[in-house]
Symmetry: C2
C-alpha cells in the first residue's frame, strides 16, 4: 500500500472541496474498518475517546453522502445505515429479519436492468441509482 488509508481518506475529502478534520477522518476510519452499513448510533458507539455530537455526525454523513464518498442505504430497520462507497465494487445486501445481520452480496444485476426500466418508464427521464436488498433468515437464527 503506497498510501495509508488515512492519506487516502484525506485525499478523498480534498478532492471534493471538503475540509479535512479529525472528526471526518475518524468517521471514514470507522466505516473503512467495519465493512458493513452502520447506523449513526453504531458509528458513535465505535467512536474512539473524545465525544462527538450527533449533529456533527449527521452533518458529516450528509456532506460525505452528497460527495458520493458515503452511501446511505435503507435496510428496513427504521433508520438509515451508511457505508463507504467503493468505486467499481458496487454491491447489495442480504439482511436477516430476525437479528439484523447483514451480508454483502458481490456483483450487481442492476446496471443493465436500470436501462431496461428507464425504457419502459412513461414519466422518468433518467435513473441514477437503485437499491436492491434481500431479506431472509440467517443460519444462526434458523437454528
Amino acid at each position: 500500500m503506497r498510501k495509508s488509508k488515512k492519506e487516502k481518506h484525506a485525499d478523498l475529502l480534498r478532492a471534493h472541496g471538503l475540509k479535512m478534520t479529525p472528526k471526518r477522518l475518524q468517521l471514514l476510519s470507522i466505516l473503512a474498518r467495519i465493512k458493513r452499513p452502520l447506523s449513526a448510533h453504531e458509528i458513535l458507539k465505535n467512536w474512539s475517546q473524545d465525544g462527538t455530537d450527533v449533529v456533527t455526525l449527521y452533518r458529516a454523513l450528509e456532506a460525505l453522502t452528497a460527495a458520493s464518498i458515503v452511501r446511505r442505504v435503507n435496510l428496513q430497520h427504521g433508520h438509515a445505515d451508511y457505508e463507504l462507497v467503493t468505486p467499481g465494487k458496487h454491491h447489495h445486501h442480504l439482511v436477516c429479519t430476525d437479528c439484523g445481520t447483514i451480508e454483502n452480496i458481490k456483483g450487481c444485476p442492476g446496471d443493465r436492468t436500470e436501462k431496461s426500466v428507464l425504457r419502459k418508464s412513461t414519466r422518468f427521464s433518467s435513473i441514477r441509482e437503485h437499491s436492491f436488498e434481500f431479506f431472509g433468515t440467517c443460519r444462526a437464527c434458523a437454528a
Copy 2:
C-alpha cells in the same frame, strides 16, 4: 365485479383472523384507491370525516403487514410507505429524488435472482423478500 371492493377487503381480514372494523376498511379503501405507496401521514390526510389516532393507524398497518395484506416499502424518504399487496402482481418502484413522484414498475427480475443470491450466500438459509427500487429524475423535474 361479483364482489364489491369492500366485501373483498372484509374477506381478506376475516381470512387472517382479523376483526373487520370501519377503521381497517377505511384504510384498505384508501390504499386501494390511491395506487402507490403512502406514508402514515398521507393516509391520515385522506381519511374521510372522523379523526383516527395515529396509534390506531400504525397498529392497523402492523397487523395488515404481518398478514401480508399490506406491504411496507422504504423509498429513502425517511419514513416507511405502505401499499396493498396484489398477489401475482409483484412490482417495484421508480422514485424521483427531486419531487418524490413514484412510478410503479411492472414485472420483477428478482425472483430468479433470489435463488442465485441464496446460493452464493455463506451465512443465510433462506430469502423471503427483496426490495428493488430505482431512483432518478422525472420528466417534470428535469424540465
